[in-house]
C-alpha cells in the first residue's frame, strides 16, 4: 500500500504569529516534521516552546486563540487525498476535525460542556460526521464508552460531566475523539492534570486504542518520562523552534543537541538512586559547580515529632450553616523528622499530605494529636506564642505566582520576618536581605523589584529566601517545585539540598512526584486517604515497598527511560474513595507492623 510510504502528516516550515500589543509575536517558526501512519510522535518542550501551538495549527484551531498561520505547509493525507491544512477553507476543516483528526486536551475537568449530558456531547459529532440517526448514534456512543472501559456505560450516557471523576472524564473525551475512527489523534498534555495512577491508565488506554485502530498519535507533553513511555519518535522544541528530532531510543541514549542533553539531565529517573544512602543533587549541564550532598549528622536527634495528628474539615450546609459532615483529611498520622533530615510525604491528590503540612504549622487547625518541635508543644500554643514558634518553622508554597505579595517589593517581603521577629534592625536588615539573595543565587538588583518582574523559578527562590530569613530549623515545602519547568525544578531542588548541607535545616518535602522524592529524601512516608500507609528510609520504601498502595503508586510512575517501559497493558486501578464521612464517624487508630527497623507498614490494607 502507498499509505505505508507516504506520511500521514507533513509539516513544512510552519510559522505561526500572534497579534501582540506592539506588532506580531512569533509563536512558532521553521518547524518541519512528519508523522507516519500508525506511529506515536511526541512533541516535547518546556512552557513557551510552541508545542501546543503546533498541534493546534494542525487543526487550524490556533485562529480561535488569536494566532495566524503565516507561512509553511501543513499537509494532511485525508481520505479524500492530501490537503494543505494551512490553506483549506472552513468547510473542509470542519469535515476533517473530529472525523479524520481527533483531539484531546489537558483539563478533563473543563473539557466537557457542564450543562449537556454525556450522550448529547458524544452523539452530536457522530450525527454530523457519520449522518447517524439518534438511535444509531446512541448505540455507537455506548460502544465507544465500552471501548474506553468506562464502568456502567449505559448510566454514564445519562449523566452530566460533574458526576464523573477526572479520569473518567478524560476517558469520555478520548471516546469522543475516537468516535469517527480518526487517522490521527492529537493528545495535548492529556495526563498533566491527572494523578499518577490515572495517568498510567490513560496512557495505556491511548496505547491500546492505537494498537487496535492503527491510528497515528501526536502526543504533546512537557514530561520526558511520559515521552520515554509512549513515543516512537520524538521532536524536541524550545522557544518556538524545533531543536532535535529522532527515534525515542536515540534521543534518550545519544541526544545531539545541548538543549536536549540539558533537558534530560534535569529529569530525575525513578530507580537511579538505588543503593545510595543520601540524597544527591542532580548534575546539571552548564552548571557544573559541585554541589555538596546533604549528609546526616552522626547521632540522629529528633526535631519534629508528630503523634496521632488528625485534621478534619467541616462540610457546612443548611440554613444556619451547620456542620453536616466531615472531610477526614488527616487521620491519625505519626512520624518524626530528625535534625538535618528530609522526610518526604508522597501521595495522590486528596490524600491529605498538604493538610498534614498545614496542620503542623497550624495554618489549618488540627482536630487532635500532638506536634512537638524541638520539644515545644505547637498545638497547645496561644496565637501569640504560635507566631513566635513560626520563627523555627517556615513554609514554601506550591504556586510561585501566588506566594509573593504582588504589591510589595521583594526586599520588603524578605525583610518582613527579620523585622517581625526582631532579628535585625536598621541597616543590618538590608545586609541580611542581600545575604539571603546571595544565598539563593539571585542578583541583589532583584531586591527592589516586584514579583511580576521575575520568572517562576526566580520567585520560588525568593520564597525560599523569605523562609530562610528566620534561620528556621524546619522548612515545609508543599509541592514547591511542581509548578516549575523541569530544568528550573532541578535547580531549585539542588538549591534546597545545598541549603540543607550548609545550614543543617530539616525539610518536610511534600510532593506527588515519586522520582523527585527519591532524589531528595532521606526518609519517605506514603499517604493514602489521610493515613500514613508506609514509612521508612528511602531505600526501604522504594526498593522493598510493602504496602499494596505503595506498590500501586510505584508501578504507575512513568520512568524516563525508553528501555524500561512499564506502560502497555490495560491498567485499571481502583478509584480512591471519598474522604467525606458523616458526623460522629470515628475510624479506628492507625496500627503498624514494623517490617524492618524503622520501616512501618499500616495494618489492614486498603480499607
Amino acid at each position: 500500500m502507498l499509505d505505508d510510504v507516504r506520511p500521514l502528516v507533513a509539516i513544512d516550515n510552519l510559522r505561526v504569529e500572534f497579534q501582540g500589543e506592539e506588532g506580531p509575536i512569533v509563536g512558532v517558526e521553521d518547524v518541519s516534521f512528519t508523522i507516519a501512519p500508525g506511529e506515536t510522535l511526541c512533541v516535547v518542550g518546556e512552557s513557551g516552546s510552541g508545542k501546543s501551538v503546533t498541534s493546534l495549527s494542525l487543526m487550524r484551531l490556533v485562529e480561535f486563540g488569536g494566532g495566524r498561520i503565516t507561512g509553511g505547509r501543513l499537509e494532511f493525507a485525508s481520505a479524500a487525498g492530501v490537503i494543505d491544512v494551512a490553506g483549506a477553507d472552513d468547510a473542509t476543516m470542519r469535515a476533517i476535525r473530529g472525523k479524520e483528526i481527533g483531539m484531546i486536551f489537558q483539563e478533563p475537568m473543563t473539557s466537557l460542556n457542564p450543562v449537556f449530558t454525556i450522550e448529547r456531547q458524544m452523539t452530536d459529532g457522530l450525527r454530523m460526521h457519520m449522518g447517524l440517526s439518534g438511535e444509531a448514534a446512541r448505540a455507537r456512543a455506548l460502544e465507544l464508552l465500552k471501548q474506553v472501559r468506562i464502568p456502567e456505560p449505559e448510566r454514564r450516557l445519562k449523566q452530566y460531566p460533574h458526576e464523573l471523576s477526572g479520569g473518567m472524564r478524560q476517558r469520555v473525551v478520548i471516546a469522543m475523539a475516537m468516535a469517527c475512527k480518526p487517522r490521527l489523534l492529537i493528545a495535548d498534555e492529556p495526563t498533566t492534570a491527572l494523578d499518577v495512577t490515572i495517568q498510567a491508565e490513560i496512557l495505556s488506554l491511548i496505547n491500546r486504542l492505537k494498537r487496535e485502530t492503527g491510528m497515528a498519535v501526536l502526543f504533546i507533553t512537557h514530561d520526558m518520562a511520559v515521552v520515554a513511555q509512549v513515543a516512537d519518535r520524538v521532536v524536541v522544541m524550545c522557544q518556538g523552534k524545533l531543536v532535535e528530532e529522532g527515534p525515542v531510543e536515540q534521543i534518550f541514549a545519544s541526544p545531539k543537541q545541548d538543549y536536549t542533553r540539558a533537558l534530560l539531565a534535569a529529569v530525575p529517573r525513578l530507580g537511579e538512586m538505588r543503593g545510595k544512602s543520601a540524597p544527591e543533587p542532580m548534575r546539571l549541564i552548564g552548571d557544573e559547580a559541585d554541589v555538596r550532598a546533604p549528609l546526616l549528622p552522626q547521632a540522629p536527634e529528633p526535631l519534629l515529632e508528630v503523634s496521632n495528628l488528625t485534621t478534619r474539615y467541616p462540610v457546612k450546609g443548611g440554613l444556619i450553616r451547620r456542620t453536616v459532615a466531615n472531610v477526614h483529611a488527616v487521620e491519625d498520622v505519626s512520624f518524626t523528622i530528625n535534625k538535618g533530615e528530609t522526610l518526604a510525604l508522597v501521595g495522590e491528590s486528596g490524600c491529605g499530605k498538604s493538610s498534614c503540612g498545614r496542620s503542623i504549622l497550624r495554618l489549618s487547625e488540627p482536630t487532635s494529636g500532638t506536634v512537638l518541635l524541638d520539644k515545644c508543644d505547637i498545638i497547645g500554643l496561644s496565637a501569640r506564642d504560635l507566631r513566635r514558634a513560626w520563627r523555627d518553622m517556615q513554609m514554601v508554597f506550591q504556586d510561585p505566582f501566588a506566594s509573593l505579595n504582588p504589591y510589595m517589593r521583594l526586599r520588603e517581603q524578605v525583610a518582613e520576618p527579620l523585622r517581625n521577629f526582631g532579628l535585625a534592625k536598621g541597616s543590618e536588615v538590608e545586609d541580611r536581605v542581600a545575604g539571603l539573595f546571595d544565598r539563593v543565587h539571585l542578583p541583589r538588583s532583584f531586591m527592589s523589584r516586584f514579583p511580576h518582574e521575575l520568572s517562576g523559578g526566580q520567585r520560588q527562590r525568593v520564597a525560599i529566601a523569605r523562609a530562610l530569613a528566620v534561620r528556621p530549623k524546619l522548612i515545609i515545602a508543599d509541592e514547591s517545585v511542581s509548578a516549575l519547568d523541569v530544568s528550573v525544578q532541578a535547580q531549585v531542588l539542588n538549591l534546597m539540598m545545598e541549603l540543607q548541607a550548609e545550614l543543617g535545616v530539616s525539610f518536610l518535602f511534600i510532593s506527588h512526584d515519586m522520582a523527585v522524592v527519591e532524589r531528595v529524601s532521606h526518609r519517605v512516608g506514603v499517604m493514602y486517604r489521610g493515613r500514613l500507609v508506609e514509612i521508612g528510609s528511602r531505600a526501604q520504601v522504594f526498593e522493598t515497598p510493602r504496602h499494596e498502595y505503595t506498590r500501586t503508586l510505584l508501578s504507575a510512575v512513568p520512568i524516563a527511560d525508553p528501555t524500561r517501559r512499564t506502560i502497555g497493558d490495560d491498567l485499571n486501578f481502583r478509584p480512591i474513595p471519598s474522604p467525606v464521612f458523616p458526623l460522629g464517624h470515628e475510624p479506628g487508630p492507625s496500627e503498624y507492623d514494623e517490617v524492618a527497623p524503622g520501616h512501618l507498614v499500616l495494618k489492614d490494607t486498603m480499607t
Binding site: 495554618l363 508554597f397 505579595n405 518582613e416 520576618p417
Partner: protein, 277 residues
C-alpha cells in the same frame, strides 16, 4: 510613566478626557463664573432657544442654562463623591471584617447586607431622604447608605479571596500580626477592586442624585443640580426641549466618562478580566 494598555484605546482616552474635563469644570467653574450669573433672570428671554447671548438657551425664569449647567457640576459631583466616600468608609471595614473574621461575624453581617440588598437602592435612598428631610447633606447620607451594602459585599468577596492566598499565609508565618496582615497584605490587594467599584459607584451616584433631585427629594433650590434642572424642565418640554436636553446631556457625558474610565481601570488593574470587555 506610560499609560496601561487598556487606557491607550480610544475608549480609555475618551474616558480619561471626559472625567478630567468634568472634574476641572467642577473645580474651577465656581471660581471663574460669578454665582449670580446663574441666577440672573433675563425676563425678556425666558425659555429662549440657544442664541449668541445664551449659547445653550434659558429656562422658564430666563436664567442662562450654560452657566447653570456648569455651576451645577460641582453640586452633582460633590454629592456623588461624598456619598461614595461615605459608602467606602462604612463598607470597607465591614467587608474586610466580614471576609477576614469569617464564621459567625460573617454570617450575621452578610445576612444583614443581603436584607438591605433586597431594597432597591433608589427606594432606600428616597425613603431615607424623605425620613431625614430633603437637603444637600441628607441626599449624601441617603445615597451613601443605599450604596453601602453592595460595596460591602464586593469587598467581603475580595477579602475572602485574598485572605486565602498563599502570600497572606506566608506573611502570617513571617510573624505579622492580624492588623499588619490586613493593612500591609490584604488591603493593598483588594484596593484595585475597591477603586474600580468606586468609579462605577460614582457613575451610579450621579444618576441617583439626578433621580432624587428630579423627584424633589434630593438637592433643593436654590442649589443648582442637574436633576433639579431636568425636573424644572418637565412643564416646558413642548416649548423648550433644550431645558431638559442640556442637563440631561451633562449627566450622560459625566456618567459615560466615568463608565469608560472604570472599564479601562478594571482592565488595567484586574488581570482576571483581561479580554473580557
Amino acid at each position: 510613566m506610560k499609560l496601561p494598555a487598556s487606557f491607550r484605546t480610544s475608549k480609555g482616552m475618551l474616558g480619561i478626557g471626559l472625567v478630567l474635563a468634568i472634574l476641572l469644570i467642577a473645580v474651577i467653574a465656581p471660581v471663574l463664573i460669578p454665582a449670580d450669573w446663574a441666577t440672573k433672570m433675563d425676563m425678556r428671554a425666558r425659555l429662549s432657544p440657544p442664541t449668541w447671548a445664551h449659547p445653550l438657551g434659558t429656562d422658564q425664569l430666563g436664567r442662562d442654562l450654560m452657566y447653570r449647567v456648569l455651576l451645577g457640576a460641582r453640586t452633582s459631583i460633590a454629592i456623588a463623591s461624598a456619598a461614595v466616600l461615605m459608602s467606602i468608609v462604612i463598607g470597607l471595614p465591614l467587608g474586610l471584617i466580614s471576609g477576614y473574621a469569617g464564621r459567625t461575624t460573617d454570617n450575621v453581617l452578610m445576612r444583614l447586607v443581603d436584607t438591605l440588598l433586597a431594597f432597591p437602592a433608589l427606594l432606600l435612598a428616597l425613603t431615607i431622604s424623605a425620613v431625614l428631610g430633603p437637603n444637600l447633606q441628607n441626599t449624601i447620607i441617603a445615597i451613601g447608605i443605599a450604596f453601602t451594602p453592595f460595596l460591602a459585599r464586593i469587598i467581603r468577596g475580595e477579602a475572602l479571596r485574598v485572605a486565602q492566598m498563599p502570600y497572606v499565609e506566608a506573611a502570617r508565618t513571617a510573624g505579622n500580626s492580624d492588623a499588619r496582615l490586613i493593612v500591609r497584605h490584604i488591603l493593598p490587594n483588594i484596593m484595585p477592586a475597591v477603586i474600580v467599584q468606586s468609579t462605577i459607584s460614582l457613575a451610579f451616584a450621579i444618576l441617583a442624585e439626578a433621580g432624587l433631585s428630579f423627584l424633589g427629594l434630593g438637592t433643593q433650590p436654590p442649589d443648582a443640580s442637574w436633576g433639579l434642572m431636568i425636573q424644572a424642565s418637565r412643564d416646558y418640554l413642548d416649548r423648550a426641549p433644550w431645558t431638559a436636553l442640556v442637563p440631561g446631556a451633562a449627566v450622560a457625558l459625566t456618567v459615560l466618562g466615568l463608565n469608560m474610565f472604570g472599564d479601562a481601570l478594571r482592565d488595567a488593574l484586574d488581570p482576571r478580566s483581561k479580554g473580557a470587555s
